[in-house]
């Protein structure tokens, strides 16, 4: 399913962009996401990022989050002002509230969710001990 759909969607986005439908050009703030007008394509995030960050896309697609359709915007927000390249734990709390709670513990100081759960693949745990932790 993946390959053929990907090709189709990529073509769709490209053609729509050429037709001036949807993409309004880069935002002024370089840390922000380029502005996207309304809603214009199927799977807009995936479409571009399969091309520009294929490894990142594959890591996500092959992960549990990818299988279960937990898509880019759940963590990264929309392409508007709430967009974040480095999401906080507030984007994880919806499904992982207990785990987010543990981040208040002293041994979690200076650590974030993605210290142990590498972004995009987000596997259950890195095989490393957390210093000061109980495991």
């Amino acid at each position: 399913m993946k390959k053929n759909t990907t090709a189709g969607i990529l073509a769709l986005v490209g053609l729509m962009a050429l037709a001036g439908w949807g993409i309004a050009g880069p935002a002024e703030n370089p840390a922000a996401h380029p502005e996207v007008e309304g809603a214009f394509t199927p799977d807009a995030c995936e479409v571009c990022h399969q091309e520009v960050t294929p490894e990142v896309h594959s890591e996500w697609y092959d992960s549990k989050h990818g299988l279960l359709n937990v898509k880019c915007f759940v963590c990264h927000g929309s392409t508007g002002n709430d967009f974040s390249t480095n999401p906080g734990a507030d984007r994880c709390v919806g499904c992982h509230a207990d785990q987010v709670e543990t981040m208040a513990a002293p041994f979690m100081k200076d650590k974030g969710c993605f210290t142990c759960h590498p972004a995009h693949a987000l596997m259950a745990h890195l095989p490393v001990a957390v210093e000061g932790g109980d495991k």
Binding site: P34, N86, C95, D98, A119
Partner: protein, 751 residues
């Protein structure tokens, strides 16, 4: 994509990768000062996931999954983003009345007095059946009940319908005809015990993501678990499939009968179970026998099934073998692919048949389980009796004793409830067209977008000679046609009960105030009843009072909801009926001895289909036949519609959530590469899709997820130029009266 955009993305991706290397993230718990969390239920689909709603400074700011509920702490991407649905600038915050063709601001008194005057005058002048209510599987049970009581017990008309007629009526018809009463006998817990899943006509991954997750976890826990997915389109649900039956549209009923024949021919039937628990029927009478069933199945060979469905015989036989294998516990799940069909009830019957002849029912992991699309279609409309032919908790309008029971609880004179069933959903809007219905009150739903062949009914609603009242939280394709628009309080701004797919009732708590002048639908209906002279009929101070009455109506029925008290709902994370007493744990295995309180403890068998007079569920002989509109020379393609994960229904709510609309909203037409080549269409080109109803242009998405001869458009796009229901056909299942959204015929042209 422009070069500038590409360069930006590459650069920002690099930044992102560096940023992700262990930099601290903001801990929500540390930063959430002052957030108060309250238990609740997700607003969207029929899975009914438990959530906690986080409120700070009087505003809903966050959602997290309830780990003590069935969803074990998980929510889908729509659920996580729920707070946004309350706060879009479009919210309706004051009543509107149409004056000189324009909706203008009005006071509540002015609006409700006008509604009361129009409805009462119409009843006096044109008769009781000149008014109607069209509700929703999204309203709380007490709200739907208030409307049901006002119209059936006050105005005296059974013209009470709701959008569950558009999605679940065929499932109801299937359960009632096969087992005697509506609603499934299993629960989500069956997923954790099944060896084989048979998903047919269901894109579970997108339409019911948390159940899909649970199925995926089951497969992960036991690699021997096998998953069969049967769908004319390859959807994301296929990612966990062991066998994908990509059948030709409308051939599924043939395949289901072929499975049954395979079980018979390969000694996979449970003769003892059939002897004790099964009757056989044809048409409407359960007067057939096993030999007649075997004869009925004779034409449904696997060879013929392969030819008709265009699936390989190897895949079909492998699927049937997995399903029927005696040691396997098999769970079937389906939704609109089966229900929204000319023979939706038959499709449901045929799935039930497979479980009945193999005895794969009433054992954890073996069940026949319909998935529901809305959060309260089951509890609020099906159970509560919010349709034109039914009364609360399994009672029928046409049965005098049932009417009498309800009239007694309602304290109204005998004969108040009409013995004539009202008009089902499409007939109701057709009666609006002919002016047989003059006034309609539409609550919490959007028929101006969601009805099939919608142009026809939009015209009827817009007609100045009909009086249309719409209560909703945002402007919709229906409010724009209304004479009066009432601003409703949203989910979380009011309190009420939701009943989800697995017979689980849950209380949704109010956690924030309604916005502007918005009021809860319950309050609006109670106020309107008083203005219409029915104040004594709806005397309630709060939904709690209405719930007490519902318990009275439901406690001695086969639903046995007497133990689901308000106090218990406030405390528990959902209760599954039958539940006769407050200390009863609820019933996960309905009809099963030792589990279901209706089955006598000394019953000689493990299961008792007590809702049938002879305690026997019926295996119905249901043949395969054509859809209401099949492709032909002039209109050679099947046209089908469905959901995507980002959106829900007519996108009244999800269409106002920025992440979801940025990710996806425009309906494109999925077309197979073979057809695209013939038409000279590439992805991104406009494709004109024309049915006998209308003609629209959608951008093409060329993908072999589709199949030759089939095109798909998602149903959520509210743009007038891409509203898929301008194309669909308004034929319906003659049994369930559910429209056949899933199949009509179209022609295509490059636009």
């Amino acid at each position: 994509m422009s070069a500038t955009r590409r360069q930006f993305l590459v650069a920002s991706a690099a930044t992102s990768a560096l940023a992700a290397l262990g930099k601290p993230t903001k801990a929500f718990s540390a930063a959430d000062g002052g957030i108060k969390w309250t238990k609740g239920v997700c607003r969207y689909c029929g899975v009914g996931c438990g959530v906690y709603k986080g409120v700070r400074d009087g505003k809903l700011v966050a959602i997290k999954g309830d780990k003590e509920n069935h969803n074990k702490g998980f929510v889908c991407l729509k659920g996580f983003l729920l707070p946004q649905i309350l706060y879009h600038e479009d919210r309706l915050t004051h009543p509107l009345i149409k004056k000189n063709g324009k909706l203008v601001k009005a006071s509540w008194d002015e609006a409700l007095d006008l509604v009361a005057k129009k409805f009462t005058e119409s009843v006096k002048k044109n008769g009781k059946d000149s008014v109607a209510f069209y509700g929703s599987g999204q309203a709380y049970t007490e709200e739907s009940y208030a409307a049901n009581k006002l119209f059936k017990g006050g105005f005296g008309t059974n013209n009470v319908e709701g959008n569950p007629r558009l999605c679940m009526a065929s499932a109801v018809g299937g359960y009632v005809t096969t087992f005697g009463k509506d609603e499934p006998m299993g629960t989500y817990d069956d997923i954790d015990h099944a060896d084989v899943f048979f998903l047919i006509g269901s894109n579970t991954a997108e339409a019911h993501p948390i159940l899909f997750q649970r199925i995926a976890r089951r497969k992960e826990a036991d690699p021997n678990v096998k998953i069969i997915v049967a769908d004319p389109r390859m959807t994301p649900t296929g990612r966990i499939a062991d066998i994908y039956l990509k059948f030709k549209p409308n051939t599924d009923l043939f395949v289901l009968n072929a499975f049954a024949k395979y079980f018979v021919d390969n000694d996979l039937v449970d003769k003892e179970f059939i002897k004790n628990h099964v009757a056989f029927g044809k048409g409407k009478a359960a007067d057939q026998n096993w030999d007649a069933y075997v004869a009925f199945l004779a034409p449904y060979t696997m060879e013929k099934a392969a030819e008709v469905s265009e699936c390989s015989i190897e895949d079909l036989e492998a699927a049937a073998k997995l399903f029927g294998c005696k040691k396997n516990r098999t769970m079937s799940m389906w939704t609109m692919g089966i229900n929204q069909r000319l023979r939706g009830v038959w499709g449901n019957n045929l799935i039930h048949n497979l479980h009945l002849i193999t005895g794969k029912i009433g054992i954890p992991g073996s069940t026949t389980f319909s998935l529901t699309g809305q959060p309260n279609a089951c509890g609020g409309v099906r159970d509560q009796g919010g349709l034109c032919h039914i009364l609360p908790y399994g009672r029928l309008v046409k049965k005098p004793e049932h009417r009498a029971e309800v009239e007694k609880v309602w304290g109204v004179p005998a004969g108040t409830i009409s013995d004539k069933p009202g008009k089902h959903a499409l007939a109701m809007f057709q009666a609006l067209e002919t002016k047989d219905i003059k006034c309609i009150y539409i609550m919490c739903t959007n028929p101006g977008q969601s009805l099939p062949n919608v142009n026809r009914y939009r015209k009827a609603m817009a007609d100045p000679d009909t009086f249309v009242v719409v209560a909703d939280i945002y402007p919709t394709r229906t409010t724009e046609l209304a004479d009066v628009v009432l601003p409703a309080a949203a989910w979380s701004e009011k309190e009420g009960v939701f009943g989800c797919t697995e017979r689980r009732y849950q209380l949704e708590h109010q956690v924030v105030l309604p916005q502007g002048e918005a009021r809860a639908d319950f309050d609006i209906l109670v106020d309107l009843a008083a203005r219409c002279g029915y104040g004594k009929l709806l005397p309630w101070k709060s939904p709690d009072d209405a719930w007490e009455e519902l318990l009275l109506l439901g406690k001695d029925t086969m639903y046995q909801i007497g133990g689901i008290t308000r106090a218990r709902l406030r405390k528990d994370h959902g209760v599954i009926w039958p539940c006769p007493t407050e200390d009863h744990p609820g019933t996960k295995l309905r009809y099963v001895k030792g589990e279901d309180p209706w089955v006598p403890k000394d019953y000689p068998h493990r299961i008792m289909f007590y809702a049938k007079p002879d305690n026997r569920a019926v295996v119905w002989f249901r043949p395969w036949e054509n859809a209401a509109e099949m492709p032909d020379e002039e209109y050679p393609f099947f046209f089908t519609t469905g959901r995507v994960i980002e959106h829900w229904h007519t996108a009244t709510m999800t269409g106002r959530c920025k992440e979801l609309t940025h990710a996806k909203i425009t309906s494109e037409v999925e077309i197979h590469p073979d057809d695209a080549k013939k038409l000279g269409v590439r992805t991104g080109d406009g494709v004109r899709v024309t049915s006998r109803r209308d003609s629209l242009i959608f951008p093409a998405l060329v993908t072999d997820n589709s199949q030759p001869g089939l095109v798909f458009v998602h149903m959520h796009d509210a743009h007038l130029d891409r509203m898929c229901n301008r194309i669909t056909i308004d034929q319906f299942d003659p049994g369930s009266k559910e429209p056949t959204f899933k199949i009509c015929a179209v022609k295509l042209a490059k636009a």
